[in-house]
Every structure is written in C-alpha cells, then in structure tokens.
C-alpha cells in the first residue's frame, strides 16, 4: 500500500508523520474538518471542567469531618422486594453506552449517504439519551424524597448531596443539550438538508454529514465522562 497523499503532501506514519504534518503549511491535522478539530479541542477544555469537578469532589470527600455515606446502600433500588445495589445506575449506564453504539453506526450510515438508516439511528440515540435523563430525574426525585438535599443529607456528610446533585446535574445538562441536538439533526437528516445543500438556520452556510460525526464525538465524550462519574461516585 502506498502512502496516502493530500494535494502533494505525503502522509507518513507514526511519530515522523506527526512531525512532518506539524512542520507543514496550511493545516496541522491533515484532512481533518474544521468543525471536527474544533469539537476535539472543545472536548479537551470540557475534560478540564469535569476534572476540576471530580478533583474537587475527591478533596471534598477527603476533608469532610462527617462520615461519607455508603453509595451501594444509598443508590440501592428495590427489585422484587430485594434491595439491589446500583441497579438503576447499571441500567442507566447500559442505556447510555448502547446509545453510543447507535450513534457510531449512525455516523457510518451518514458517510454512506444512507439517509434513512442514519436518521433512524440518530432517533434511537436521542431516545436513549432521553431515557437516561428520565432515569436520572427518577433517581434525583427518589433521593430528594429520602431527604437528600444539596445542603443536607440524612445518610452522612452534607457534601455528598452537594457534589452528587452538582456533578450529575452538570453531566445531565450535557446529555440534555446532546439530546436536543440529536433531535435537530434527526430532523435535518430525514428532511434531506445535506442532500439539498440547505443552508443552516443561523450560520447561513451549507452543511455536510461530517456534522453527524462531530455530534457523535460530543455524544461519546458525554458517555465517557459518565463512566468516570460512575466509577468515582457509585463504585468508590
């Protein structure tokens, strides 16, 4: 297999390739769409946001004088009369990870210009996200019902409630934004905006199926963040 080329520029593999791409003119990331590069850098910045949240959580959990509640008791869900630890969280995680799968397939069909399949899979992803947000709302209302508040917590340290509502709330906000955009892009794909070359509502510029991949990057990121929240909040 010969080395791929972009407009007279030879793409080399490995570290050498990275160095020669960096040293070249015009673009640093060869053949990468502007929007895609933007999303990656935005996600890097957002990673710092979530890292700050999680590190603050670790510090808060480590320094509070009152005992931290046992997550497997707090987050237990009664199923057939038996309290099962982390049942709801396991379901939520499963739904969210599955929606990442449908998103990835939607991107594939998008690039194949298979409008119908892409649209249905986007819709499935959006519904998965919606289910996740719904289950999170259920979990919140259950905890609130049991007396957990951002400022107090009957199971132990008040910071447990504070960090829980703040971090899951911030993540849920990300998911909700993602769901809204998933519905918008489902509509755009079904309506055939990319095929017709219809201009964007705000930007007044033409779109492309790469937008589905950019949305996918965001969606996978939101899932990945959830894995960290899951590990630090529910398993620790």
């Amino acid at each position: 297999m010969s080395e791929p080329k972009i407009d007279g520029f030879e793409l080399k593999p490995g570290f050498k390739g990275m160095a020669s791409d960096t040293a070249s003119d015009q673009t640093m990331f060869k053949g990468v769409h502007w929007g895609k590069a933007m999303m990656w850098i935005f996600l890097l910045s957002d990673t710092f946001v979530f890292s700050c949240f999680l590190i603050s959580y670790m510090k808060g959990r480590g320094s509070t004088p009152v005992e931290w509640p046992n997550p497997s008791e707090v987050f237990a869900l009664e199923a057939f009369g038996v309290p099962v630890p982390l049942l709801l969280i396991a379901l939520m995680t499963f739904v969210l990870i599955t929606s990442s799968g449908t998103m990835a397939i939607a991107v594939k069909y998008g690039y194949e210009k298979n409008r119908k399949m892409c649209g249905w899979l986007l819709l499935a992803t959006a519904l998965g996200g919606l289910t996740f947000v719904g289950m999170q709302a259920y979990e919140w209302s259950k905890l609130i019902h049991e007396g957990v508040r951002p400022w107090e917590n009957p199971f132990g340290a008040a910071q447990f409630g504070s960090f829980f509502f703040m971090i899951t709330g911030f993540h849920g906000f990300h998911v909700s934004i993602g769901v809204i955009f998933l519905f918008i892009y489902t509509y755009k794909v079904f309506a055939g905006h990319y095929e017709k070359g219809k201009k964007g509502w705000f930007t007044k510029l033409k779109g492309d199926y790469v937008e589905i991949e950019i949305l996918g990057l965001y969606w996978h990121f939101v899932d990945l963040v959830w894995v960290f929240i899951f590990a630090f909040f529910y398993l620790w």
């Binding site: 003119d25 015009q26 502007w34 710092f48 400022w151």
Partner: protein
C-alpha cells in the same frame, strides 16, 4: 448567500506573483508551493447595517467591537483606581467614601482590569483582528460562533456593570473572591453583588471558549499556502499559546464560580467550613476554603500569562519592524512562549505561600516559579539582541516597546523576590506585591497595547495617528507609571499592608503619608494622560493624514491586503502565497530593506536571505 472566490489552481503561474502585482522570472522549482488543501472558505456577506456593524460575522469588526467594549470597561477600572488613590492619598477629600466603597472599588478594579480589559483586549481584540490577516485566512473559521463570542462577552460586561446598581452594590471581597468571607454577611456586596460577579465570570468563560476555539482552529487548520507554523509572526504564536492556556485554565474558574454560586444560593458547603458568628454556628460546615484558592489560582496564574504572552508576541513583531532587523532567535522565542505557557500550569500555589499549605508544597512551587524565569529571560535577551545594531527608528511605537522592556524586567526582578517562600512571607499582602504585579502584568502589557495601537491604527482606520501627541502620551505614562509604582516597593518594604482603607495612626505611616500623596497625584496625571490617546484617535479620524499602504514597511501579511482597511474576505480574489518568515529586514543584497512574506525565492535569489 455567499460569494465563492474563484479557486484558481494554476499554481506555477501564481507562485511567482507578489501582492503588488509585479511578476518576476518564473522558476517553478524553487518557487513551488503546494496547492490548497481545503479550498475556499464559504463566507456569509452582510446585507444590512445591523449585519455589517452590530451582529457582524467579520472577525475584523468583531475585533474592533471587542476592543471598544474592553476599553470602555478599562476606563471604568481607571476611574475606580482614581477613587482608590483619592482615598489613600487625600482621605480628607474623599469624605463620601466609606470602607465598604473602597473594598468594592478595589475588587472591581482588579477583576475588570485583569479579565474584562486585558484578556478581552489581547485575545478578543487583537486576536480577532490579526489572526486571520496574519495567517492569510479569509476570516475566522466559524464566523457565526465568533459573533456569539463577542455578544456573550458584551452580556458579561453588562451583568458586571449592573452589579454597581443592585442593592448592596458590587462585591467587595477582593478580586480573588476568597471564601468564606466573600459570601458572608458583613462583606460588601455579599448579596446580589457577588452573585452577578459569578454569573458574569461564567458568561465570560462561555463566550471566551467560543472565541478561543476559533482562534485555535484558524491558526492550526486555516493557514494559507506556504504558511508553516514556523513562518508565523510571533504575535500569532503569543495569542495562540495564550488561547491554549485560556482553554485549559478557564474551566477551573468556571467550576469555582459554579460551586461558589451554589454555596451562596443553595447553602451548600463546598468552600465553607464551620463558622461561628457572634456566638452562633452558621448553617455551613465541612467545606474547604483552600480548595477554592487552588481552583482559583489554577486559573489565576495561567491568566497572568494569558495577558503576558500576547504582549510578548506583539512586542517582538513591533521591535523587529521598527528596528529593521530580524527577531533574534525566532525559534528560541517560539519555544520560550510555548515553554512559559506549559510551565505556567505548575506554579499556581506560589500565590498561596501564606495560606497554610504544606511547606514542602511551597518549596516545589518556588522551584517551578524560578524555572519560569529562564525562558522569560531568554526572551528579554532576544529583544535586546534584536535592537543591537539595528536601524532603530525612535518613533512612538518603538518608545512603547522600549518602555515595555524596562518595565517588564523591573517587574520580573521583583517576581524573583516574591517567588521565594522565605522572602515572600514578610512581603506578602504588602504594597510590594501591588508594585510587582502592576509593573509586570499591568503596565508592561499596557505599553505593548499602546504600541500596538499606534502600529496597527493605520491598518484599521487607514490614517496615521499623530506622533507628537503620541510622544506626550508615552512620556507622561512612562514617567508617571514609575512615579506610581517605584515608591510602592518602598511602602511594601516598610510593611504597609495592601487593601487597607485607612492607615490610622500606625507608627510607620508618618513616612508613608507623603509618599501616598505623591503616588496619588502621579496616578491622577497618568490616568488623565490616557485620554490623550482617545483625543488623538478622534482627531486623527477627523483630520488625520491618510496612511499609505504598509506605512511601516513591514513584511507580515496583514499589510498586503487588497484594500486598506481590509474588506470582508481580507485578500481580494486570491489568497496570498507565503514563501518566508515575516522578519526579512535589511537583508544584504536586497533592493529594499524589507522582503514581504509573499516574495518568491526566485526574486531574491541574489540576496543573502535566510532560508525559513
């Protein structure tokens, strides 16, 4: 609707053309530049007055909007500093001012100047205007998001200014907003004031993120043909690295603002320990105030370099152009900028030596702080070596640059005092600290801004600013700034604490009284002198002499646009093709003392031009 420029793909004919239209001999081998990878950018041209000047998607207009908004907040910050100096120098004349007012002015002055003035001016103002022009792009890569970025900043400023008019006034907790006192009753503005401040900061971060993504992707992915990273002007390198810092540091500010908002509104205790007030236990408990300090300074220290790095970059370009010499050690300068940027994430706790953290932690941060002096000193040496035997033109721009170098060295040296734990502890929270950071990140970057305004005004407005008024402006500001901050070092050494509303009858105050009066008078004069610039700009716009294209004989692309001032799309029908770095000044054997970046190698084949 978009106009698409004709993407002419006859490279060999193009490659020998320079911007002024002259053609040299065609030598396809040495003049060859790879074809365009991305093709032409689709632009949305404005159709109405509102689309052209208000909700505009052109980075140049957005840059000017950012600039004007930032200058407006800067003037507010300046007036606040006058009020503070009035209280400190002539308390009998400032009878209307209570201690609460004073703390509010201190806080707002600090926050406005650091975030809403300097950061917005360098990145939003100069970044938006110069990045697309300097890298040879038609516009920022996401013009619509860029427009949103400015309007988000505008709303952030409006919210910040609104806090002057709410019950209780703006927050008076000091610009560092340290909990617990920031949100406790008894601190001025602990009600609505602090809430609006936190909301405004969050909006600023969101707005900046939109802009920052634009700056980064434009630089990384939208350079013109032939423009490698190592052919970019240092201005672009400085703004780029500062943007990277901002994208990674502002998250900490956002998170701390969110957490403090919750502490304030929902009585959570992220930052709030158990507090006894007048014998009563407050509802707070179990939180960590030090956590806030870590989050704040993880943002706060890179913030210093978010202001400083664009200044470093811009001043390098100005010195090189006005000394008619290539910048000394271009690659070293680039790596120094990148190195300072990377190191700036590992020094934050040197702001916290007296916070009660582990002394070994202080030892680590003292070490990293002193290491950062190495790349910084390299830059200073390189500026001086650029001037060395250069064909220096002592015009207003050069004066500001020279003023910057001495001021920056001055502030840098006091930084070495404060970076060492044992020296910092007695000097901490005194006027020495005030003098240090005003010199190094207040006056020094401000001098670069002034130089940059005089340098690029002919490009933005097409007219030359008045040199005579400019020299008055410079000398009053330069001498005045030293009159303000030199005595403050002394005040710090005799132990005058910062942020004190009144000095009462402290024994050391007898020698400080006269000095405070002197500093205040100097501050009034320096502040007033800034209006010379505003007058100069208005006068020039009305009656100024029309600027020729490229009045400073510079090489970088922003001076080689199809029209002056550049129109939407910047470069007319064809984007420029770059063959060299922007620092080919006084090349032996060349006809002129400058070779534009667009000059093809075949045209300068008989000169001793460096290969870049």
């Amino acid at each position: 609707m978009s106009d698409e420029y004709d993407n002419n793909k006859s490279y060999q004919a193009q490659s020998s053309e320079v911007m002024d239209g002259s053609t040299g001999s065609v030598n396809p081998d040495i003049d060859y530049v790879r074809p365009s990878e991305v093709g032409e950018q689709e632009l949305y041209h404005p159709h109405s007055f509102i689309e052209k000047w208000v909700f505009c998607q052109d980075a140049k207009v957005i840059g000017v909007q950012y600039f004007l908004t930032a200058v407006f907040t800067g003037v507010v910050g300046l007036i606040l500093s006058w009020l503070m100096r009035l209280q400190l120098g002539f308390p009998e004349l400032a009878g209307f001012m209570t201690a609460e007012h004073y703390y509010q002015f201190v806080t707002m002055h600090g926050m406005i100047m650091v975030v809403y003035f300097l950061t917005a001016l360098f990145l939003g103002g100069f970044g938006n205007y110069l990045i697309p022009l300097m890298v040879g792009a038609r516009d920022m890569v996401f013009p619509y998001v860029n427009m949103l970025s400015f309007w988000m900043f505008f709303v952030a400023v409006a919210v910040l200014m609104a806090s002057f008019f709410v019950p209780g006034g703006p927050t008076g907790a000091g610009w560092t907003l340290y909990p617990p006192q920031t949100i406790l009753e008894g601190t001025p503005g602990a009600g609505m004031g602090i809430l609006l401040m936190l909301i405004s900061l969050s909006l600023f971060v969101i707005g900046f993120t939109m802009g920052g993504l634009n700056y980064m992707i434009t630089i990384l992915q939208a350079r013109t043909r032939g423009m490698t990273l190592m052919r970019m002007p240092l201005t672009v390198w400085g703004i780029f690295t500062a943007t990277v810092l901002a994208m990674l540091a502002f998250p900490a500010l956002l998170v701390s603002a969110i957490m403090m908002t919750l502490d304030k509104v929902l009585q959570t205790s992220f930052f709030m320990p158990t507090i006894l007030k007048a014998g009563e236990v407050l509802e707070y408990g179990g939180g960590s105030p030090i956590l806030f300090q870590h989050l704040f300074w993880f943002f706060g220290h890179p913030e210093v370099y978010i202001v400083a790095l664009p200044a470093f970059g811009i001043v390098s370009d100005l010195i090189s152009v006005h000394a008619r010499k290539n910048i000394f050690g271009y690659r070293m300068m680039v790596w120094a900028i990148v190195g300072i940027g990377a190191l700036s994430f590992f020094v934050w706790a040197h702001h916290m030596y007296v916070s009660g953290m582990n002394p070994w932690f202080g030892f680590f941060f003292a070490t990293t702080t002193l290491i950062i002096a190495v790349p910084t000193a390299m830059k200073v040496y390189n500026w001086i070596l650029t001037l060395w035997r250069g064909n220096i033109r002592i015009n207003v721009v050069m004066l500001w640059c020279l003023g910057f170098i001495v001021t920056f060295v001055n502030g840098g040296i006091t930084g070495i005092f404060l970076g060492n734990v044992s020296v910092d502890v007695p000097l901490s929270d005194t006027y020495f600290v005030i003098a240090h950071f005003h010199m190094v990140m207040g006056i020094a970057p401000l001098m670069v801004i002034m130089g940059a305004v005089y340098h690029w005004f002919p490009l933005v407005a097409g007219k030359m600013l008045d040199e005579g008024l400019g020299k008055w402006h410079f000398w009053i500001t330069f001498l005045g700034a030293y009159s303000i901050y030199f005595p403050m070092h002394y005040l710090g050494f005799i132990g005058v604490p910062r942020r004190y509303f009144e000095m009462y009858d402290s024994p050391y105050m007898t020698s400080a009284v006269g000095m405070n009066e002197f500093i205040s008078i100097a501050a009034f004069i320096v502040g007033a002198a800034q209006f010379i610039l505003i007058f100069n700009i208005i006068k020039t716009l009305k009656t100024g002499k029309k600027a020729e294209q490229n009045p400073w004989k510079a090489n970088s692309l922003e001076w080689y646009t199809s029209t002056v001032p550049p129109e939407h799309g910047n470069f007319g029908e064809r984007l420029p093709v770059v063959h060299r770095w922007p620092y080919d000044f006084s090349v032996p054997g060349a006809k002129e003392d400058y070779i534009p970046q667009t000059t093809a190698p075949s045209e300068v084949i008989h000169t001793e031009v460096e290969k870049t």
